[in-house]
Structures are given as structure tokens and as C-alpha cells.
């Protein structure tokens, strides 16, 4: 065989070996066999010596061309095999992604506190500051300072839990008004939120304990229209675009008095009482009721999540069944 014939044969064998290799490891073997320091193609260069001087460069070049061809073939084959091997390896490592994750317990806030927080955030963003006041309140703050005449039927709406002759559980967060005005001069933008208590038979829509948010604004030039706009703004933040209803109602501490509601489903969701702070109250707090006017409201919190989530029994809030609480 001439060196050229030998070269052609080895190149063919090498190409076959590359094509027949099944793994990257076998390919590496082929590379060593043919292109290694003692490889068969590399070894052909030894034959250069037996060639006439003028053919030497040509033959050397021919070997190098074959080597380059083989390297290219090796590289291509290696890439394909590596990809297949990677696919097989990771495929063997696959999991059933439809199984549940390695989960942890989830907690969550009570729907009432979640609602209270939403109300608080909304009013704070509107410029009202929150503070806390006692649940055990003096009669003076709960009634007297709120313009309740003695022996008035208005008390019938406020059946109270008395602790002693002077103290009771506040029947309305409105009790905070005199506390606020004792310590501040107008302009006033204050609010409070919390529990209130009234002696009521407990049923699906009544509880002896409920939650209210009270707001008090006193300033020059405040109007009933401002109260209406403020209520509309709050309901927009809490319920989206809803129709509000403002209709006359009576509470001793406001004049004009308003019952505020929003349209919900087929009817009206009554949220509470509101109105312009009665001038008697401003005067009793040493605020000039000619110069300053005020508006106030006391809204029920519990009805809000009941309406929003379709909860039909207020007792569920106090029962705290986790199957109920987890829904919010």
C-alpha cells in the first residue's frame, strides 16, 4: 500500500469509528486512537521519511487535512452525543410536578381586623390620624358630652353594660369626641376604631360586641357637602365605584344628622350615622361654633366584610372556626 492508500484507509476507519461511537467516552477513545500522540493518523507522519523529498510536504499536508476533517467530525459527533446524554441524565432526574409542594402552614388576619386595617389605611391616606381610647368609658364621655338629654328615649338605642355608677363599656366609639377636643384646638382630623358594646340579644345579625370607626373633623368652613364627599371618597377606596346614599337620621350629637349607606346588590347597606357636630358639643368644649364647624361619623365595621364576602351570620366572626377564617 502506498502511504496515500494507507492514509485513505485509516481516515475511512477513523470516520467509521467516530460514527459508530455510542458515548462521549468512546469518542474520546477514538480521538486517542487516531489523533493521540501515538494515534494512527498521527503515526502516518512517520511515513514522510520514506517519501521523496518533493512529495514530503504534500503528504504532510494531506495527513493534516485528514486530521482536521476527523477533528471536525469528532466535534460534531461529540456535541450531539453530549446533548443526548444530558437529556437522558436530566430526564432520569425528573419529578412529578403535579404533586403538592413542600408547604408550610399559612396564617392570616381575622376578616374583621383585615377590614379595620383597610379602613384605617384609607383614612390615614386622607389625612386622619388614629388614636386609641378606653373600652371602659365614663358615662360623661359616652353620653353627656355627646348632647344626650337626661331621661331621653335616645338611650333606648344604647342599652349599656354598666361596670359601676359612672362607668360602662362604650356603646359607641363616638365617645372619643370629647377626649379629642379636650386636648386639641381646630383644625382637627382625628379618628378611632375599635370595639363597642350594647346589650343586644345575639342572633345572625346582632351581637353584643361590634366594631366601629369614628371620625371627627373640626375646622373653619366644613360643610355637610364635605362630609358627603369624604364618605364618598372612603367608600370608593373600600368598595370601588358604589352609589352612596345620604338620608336624614337622628343622633343627639349631630345636627343635621345623616344615615349613610351604599348601594349593595338589590338594596342599601347601611353603614352608620353621621352629621355635622352639634354646636352644643363644640361650645361645651370651648370651641366657637360660629367660627368652626365640624363633621363626624360612626360607621359599623362588621357589616362591611359581611356584605363583601356574603357572610350571613355575624356570629361566625366570634366563633373563629378555622375553616371560616382560612377563607379570607
Amino acid at each position: 500500500m502506498t502511504p496515500y492508500e494507507e492514509l485513505a484507509q485509516i481516515a475511512t476507519e477513523a470516520a467509521d469509528a467516530v460514527d459508530n461511537a455510542a458515548t462521549v467516552a468512546q469518542l474520546d477513545g477514538v480521538e486517542v486512537d487516531f489523533l493521540g500522540r501515538k494515534g494512527r493518523l498521527t503515526g502516518l507522519l512517520r511515513l514522510v521519511g520514506s517519501l521523496p523529498a518533493e512529495e514530503k510536504p504534500q503528504f504532510g499536508q494531506a495527513v493534516n487535512v485528514r486530521k482536521a476533517e476527523l477533528l471536525e467530525r469528532l466535534g460534531a459527533r461529540k456535541g450531539g452525543l453530549a446533548a443526548a446524554e444530558r437529556t437522558a441524565r436530566l430526564s432520569a432526574d425528573s419529578v412529578d410536578v403535579t404533586l403538592p409542594g413542600r408547604n408550610v402552614w399559612n396564617g392570616g388576619p381575622h376578616p374583621i381586623t383585615r377590614q379595620m386595617q383597610a379602613v384605617k389605611d384609607a383614612l390615614i391616606s386622607m389625612g386622619y390620624s388614629f388614636d386609641e381610647y378606653p373600652d371602659i368609658e365614663h358615662y360623661h364621655y359616652n353620653f353627656e358630652m355627646l348632647n344626650y338629654p337626661p331621661d331621653h328615649p335616645a338611650f333606648d338605642e344604647q342599652m349599656s353594660f354598666y361596670i359601676d355608677d359612672t362607668h360602662l363599656l362604650r356603646t359607641q366609639t363616638t365617645a372619643f369626641q370629647a377626649h379629642v377636643m379636650e386636648g386639641r384646638k381646630p383644625p382637627i382630623r382625628q379618628a378611632t376604631i375599635g370595639k363597642c358594646y350594647r346589650y343586644e340579644a345575639v342572633d345572625a345579625t346582632h351581637s353584643h360586641t361590634f366594631h366601629q370607626v369614628d371620625l371627627l373633623a373640626v375646622d373653619e368652613g366644613l360643610t355637610l357637602a364635605d362630609l358627603k364627599g369624604t364618605f364618598a371618597q372612603l367608600t370608593k377606596m373600600l368598595f370601588g365605584d358604589v352609589t352612596i346614599r345620604f338620608r336624614p337620621d337622628f343622633f343627639p350629637f349631630v345636627e343635621p344628622g345623616v344615615e349613610v349607606a351604599i348601594q349593595w346588590g338589590d338594596g342599601w347597606l347601611e353603614l352608620g350615622g353621621a352629621g355635622m357636630v352639634h354646636p352644643n358639643i363644640l361650645e361645651s368644649m370651648g370651641i366657637d361654633s360660629e367660627r368652626y364647624t365640624g363633621f363626624a361619623w360612626g360607621l359599623g365595621i362588621d357589616r362591611m366584610p359581611m356584605a363583601k364576602y356574603g357572610i350571613d351570620d355575624i356570629r361566625l366572626f366570634a366563633e373563629n372556626d378555622v375553616r371560616f377564617l382560612r377563607q379570607f
Partner: protein
Amino acid sequence: MKFPVEWLREFVPTTLDDKALADKLTMAGLEVEEITPSEDGPVYHTKVTPNRGDWMSLLGVARETAATLDTKMSWLPTPLPDENDDVRRWAGVVITDTALCPRYAGKVVRNVTIGPSPDWIQKRIAACGMRPVNVVVDVTNYVMLELGQPLHAFDYDTIPEGKIVVRPANAGETIITLDGAERALQAGMLVIADREKPIAVAGVMGGAETEVTDSTRHIFLEAAQFDPGSIRRTSKVLGLSTDASYRFERTVDPELVPLALERAAELLADLAGGEIALGRIDLYPAPKRALPIELRPTRTNAILGTNLTDETIAQSLTRLGLIVDASASPFKVLVPTFRTDLLKEIDLIEEVGRMIGYDTLPETLPPSAGGGGVDAPRGKFAGDLRTVLTSIGLQEALTHSLAAPSSFDDPEKTDERVAIRLALSAELSGLRQSLVPNLLGVLSHNLRQREPDVRLFEVGKVFAKGEGVSNYLETRSVAGVLTGAVSPRRWTGEEIPAIDFYAAKGVVEALFTRLRLPKPQFVPGQVHGMHPGRTALVEIDGQPIGYVAELDPDAVKSELNVPASVGRVAAFELDADALLAVSADTRHYTPLPRFPAVTRVLAVVVDSEVGYWALESTARSVVEETLLEEIAPESIYTGEKIGEGKKSVAIRFVFRAADRTLTDAEVETQMRAVETALAERVGAVHR
């Protein structure tokens, strides 16, 4: 109040249907809560606000309706002048206290025939929710419903000589009222009396002795004006609220007295065949006059936020039956006696608002008062507590502050419980002193619903009596109860540990870490209802601020009403106000370490009762503070190899210097010091 719509339509003709009319009234403040059918046609159920006693009659509702619809009433009762004094042959009245009884009128109807009232009256008063009795009682009720003036009919023959005295009761007097109950009267309660004894509780209920019966021949009819507060007090004390007292409490127009009296007498003459004794007794020494109030149109617009013309304002009030002199500045307004709720300018401004309709008011926002809104620190901190606890898998509960006493209440604090006066039930008998008993009740409920894994917390007030009179303490508390598995059961087959003391302690530690509170100390202690060997008092600088514990397993069984399968129950409660007081944002950046750390684990054997903290604190006291990065327990082991009453504790130490790589020799020096100190101070033997 409830009444047939048809009755109202007799006063105020309108083409509006029942629903549309109800909506109009509701939007004007006279809420129609529902419309129900009756034998007398559809019935309105109205909500009467406490200031509007005049809405307790058809006349008052009709007046409001006419004003709202801006129309005229088809009829108004007009008083018949009756100057004849024939009645004085039959009866006489004396008022001893005109403050309690400003007006008292009476009329005598003779030779009535007692029987059932005609069908149309029976239907009407039944539709209004009253029970037909006989023609006399039914007529007085009918006129009360129609005009709003309560009336009372006495059997004339039971009053000696027809002599009536309106006076305060004397202490010790009693009366048997129409309902058959004997009632002890208190001195000062107003009564209608004959010459000797009370025969009716004025404005509340008549007496049984003078009741109209089938054999009654002559009637003494009473119409009067009583002091609202006095009637209310009497009604409350006697526990007796009637249709009459309800109206008197809300004030009744004194001008109704003669109207109602004549109307009832006429009806009795018509329907019971009675003969009216001419004339009426009518004692009214100080007649009430229309009240003059000044109204500024500018002020009206300034309060309502409107631009109403003088004319609109004046008309609104005129519609309501007020007399307005709009040529004066300010307006001079006369308020008739049927509107006792209108006392000041602001009351008139509300009336203007009602008549133009609150729905027509613009919506504006007040100017900013400067400065934004903020939450109080206490409220914000409560929110922070909730955020941390919910984020580590606890569910918030919200329980009542009113609570029954619990076997988990601390018996040493029974005296501090804030009790409700005259409590009607145990559940409403006082205020909670701790959140844990309520939470345990909730935990128990959930376990009974077959929810084996319960992790609840609450942030809320607890209450206590302080020193002195009417001194009540309200403290914010944060508490939790936990039972079941520490994490959800998984299909991976991992062993999930059950909740125990350490699970609850982990929650407490997370609170301190996440809220950046000072590091607390956990000291073995005793808390009522808790496991004596698994209770830690939580202290900050030696001050106890709460506890973390497992419940006493025997108490879980005997006091909790839970399935027998329940495992350990853990609980914690901390004084949130105390936590807030020590909370401070002390965050300060520490450069990240540039040199490697060296970790060593030291295993020692100590007596079982030696607490881990004794080992760590001893070690800390001798190690060079600047080199120590961490000390933590690695493992605790007890068993035969260690010996009875002993345990092996492996402690991990991590050393690092800020400015260099530590040498082995430096670390060894530290560890030698630790070994020596542990041996000398807690008897630790190096393994």
C-alpha cells in the same frame, strides 16, 4: 310604628304607589323599613327616631308626607270650642304638680253600651298592631293612633264623686294595674288618684279597679300632657312600657289634648250610643307658645354647603308648617308646638336640608388640615405583631372581651376581675383578664370540628381593676395557642414533629427577633393551668412580661372538652404594651466579615437539671467577646452511656476576628478557658 297606607292616603291624597311613597318618606328621614299585607291593606312599618314623637301618629306622618311631597293635607282636626261647664256637675280635677302635668283635660260620656267596636275600627287598630278589646278601649286607641294623643277611659262609677287628683305618689303606695300586676310606686311617680288612692299610673297604665268593663255605664275620658322625663323614669322603674308611655316619653303636642278628647267623645257617642256631657275640664295653666327662632340664610348655606336662595329656604320651612317671616334679616321663624324637636337655628338648617333632599347635596372634599394622617404607636405595633405572627403560620382569632370566668383564669387575680353590674349571663358577666382562656375555647371548638392542627393568636385588650375607685386598667396583650403538627403532613414521608413547648417558644423568639426587641430571658416558672415542668416566664431586664408554656396535660383532659387524641397544647401570652415600651429601632450596619470563621464543637456531661443557659452564659463570661460570633446548642443526649441523672450537651462555638485570620492557638486558648470555667462552675466533664 305601623299603619295601613290607606289611612295615610285619607290624609294626603297622592298618585304615588306604595313603594314610591315609602321611598320618598325614607329619603326625608321617616324610614319605611318594610311593607307587609294586612286585612286593612298594605301596612308601612316606620322607624321613628327618638326626637320625632310626632311621627307616632297618622296626623304627624301625614304632616311630614305633605311637606315632603309639597302638597296639602286633605283634612286637619279642628278644635270645637266648648265653653259649657255642664261637665263640672259630674267631675272635677286638681293638679298638684304642673311641672309633671302641664295640662289635664277630661270629658264625661254617659250611658254607653259596651260591646265590640265596629269592624272598620277593629281592622284598623289590628293592622297597627293593637288588639281590639271593646268599643271604648278601641276608640281611645284609634284616636291615639290617628292624632298621637294617648287617652284613658275610666269607669266613671268607680271614682267617688268623679273627683280626680293628679299628684306625685307617696312612698309605700301601690296599685294593681290593668295587666293585673300589683305595683309598688315610688315617691314622686306621677299618678292619677281619687281622693284616697292612685287609680292610674299617669301616662303609663290605668288601674284595674277603674277599668272599663262590660257593666260600665258612664265613662270619664282623660287626655293630658305629662313631663316626658318623668314618664320615662316611671316606665323604666316599673319595667312597664306601653303605647301611651312610649309616646309621652317622645313628647306629645299639648294642643292635641282638646282635639283628641272631643274626637273620642264624638266617636263614643256614635259607636257606643253615649251621651256627651257638655263642656270639658281643661286645666292648662301655662300654655305653651310657638317658639321663635332666627335663621340666617347665609349660615344655612354655610352648613349645608349649598347655594340656596332665600326663597327656597323659606319655602322649605313653610312646607313643614312653620311660620316664616322672610322679610326680616335674619328670618324670623315660629315653630308650632307639634315640632318640639326644633329648638335652635341648626335644627331649622337640618329641616331645610331634609326638604331640598340630602341626595341633592354636592360632594366636596374639605381642605387639608396640613400634615398627613398617622397611626398611634399602639395601633401600629398591634399591626406589626399581626404581620409577624401571620407570616409564621398563625391564624388570627378575634374573641369577645366579655367573657365567662374560666378555670384557666389565675385564681390569685379573681379580685381584679372587672365585673358587669347586673349581668344576665355568665358569658356577659365580666371582662377578660387574659386572652388565653378565650383562645383555648376557640382551640377546643376547632379540635371538635376535626381540625387536628390549630395555631391561633389574638392581639387585644385585657382588663383589670386597679387601686382605688373606678380605676380600670386596659392593657394590650398578645397571645397564642398551638397544637398538632409543626408543619403540614407531606407525601414525602418526612417525620413531622408535634407542637410542644419549643414550638411556642420559637414563635415568641420570632416575635422578638423580627420586631427587633431586646433579647428576652426565659426563666423556669409556674403559671396557673400550665405544665409545671414546661413553663418559662419571659423577662426583659428581670421584669416578667409574660410566659410561654405547655398546658398542664391533666387540665387539657379535664377542662378543655377536646377529643382524647389531642396531643400537647402550647400557649404564650405577652404584655404588648410592655413590648412596645422597650421596642426601639437599634439597627446599625456591621461590615460583612472578610476573614474566615473557625468552628469548634465542645461536648460536656453535666447533671440533668443544669439548664443550657447556665452553660452558654458561663462560656460567654470567659470568652473574648470580640472573637465570639455564635454559641448554639448542637445536640443534647441522655442514655445509659452517659449515666443516670446526667446528660451530654454538645455546644457549637464560632470564632472570627474582624481584622485577621485566627490561628489554631488563639482558638484553643479560648476553648481551654471555656472548658475550665464549665468544669469549675457547673461541674461539666469534658467528653
